[in-house]
Symmetry: C2
Subunit: 113 residues, 2 copies
DNA sequence: ATATGAATTGCATAGTTCTTCAATTGACCA
DNA sequence: TGGTCAATTGAAGAACTATGCAATTCATAT
């Protein structure tokens, strides 16, 4: 084995880099959930969802357990919330930055005329 | 505009999903740094580094300023540390999970014979 | 046994992202 | 002006990822 940490991080982030996978992780934060409910909550074809669930499973961030004819997904006891929160903060920070830039541009515009 | 939040997050994570980009962000946490030094710290061709820096710039997470003939990169006043820390925690959590699994497997093996 | 519903897998196509090389820009000095 | 070093850009091909359809598996009900 022995994968450098920065590479493991890159793989983790790459695995997170898909809107459906993000939504699934966000939904699972409220607790385990069967595929049927995920399908109800996300507008997507069953097979596409399965593909994305397979990505999450392979990475080890979620687990799937069969209960009769339904399959239930759950977070693999891992603190996804902190990641999502950090992401949200970065996004608001960057939007604020852009807003600030817009502001500056508007001022420059005004003072120029 | 109006991009759903989960999509913005996915784009942010996708942007982070490359080992070179991770290393750059980690290096920049110690403060602004010229391209020359980044090149010294990361084993990579100049043009490849430039490509990855361009991705980071486009996303708005870093800024580049020219100082004479060198270009200096800096984090765009954004809290990358929290993200990296959350990622590290998740990774160690998942490795622990795998280690635990290995442990279980070993025990099962032993008790089976 | 057969049929049905839930979920997954296999596969082909289309779309993105990486990598590398050659060409370019910008700053500086002789 | 011409040369050189730093960094970037452009473009082509390879490698990877996503999407959607058809086929499959598994569990359950008839």
């Amino acid at each position: 084995m022995q994968v450098p940490l920065y590479q493991a991080k890159a793989e983790l982030f790459r695995m997170l880099g898909h809107p459906v996978r993000i939504r699934v992780l966000e939904l699972l934060q409220a607790g385990p959930m069967p595929v049927r409910d995920l399908l109800g909550a996300i507008e997507i074809e069953p097979s596409s969802l399965s593909q994305q669930l397979a990505v999450l499973r392979r990475s080890g961030i979620v687990t799937a357990t069969r209960d009769g004819s339904t399959v239930v997904y759950a977070l693999a006891g891992v603190d996804v919330a902190a990641l999502m929160q950090a992401a949200r903060r970065i996004l608001t920070g960057m939007l604020a930055g852009q807003a600030g830039l817009l502001e500056e541009l508007r001022e420059a515009e005004t003072s120029a005329r």
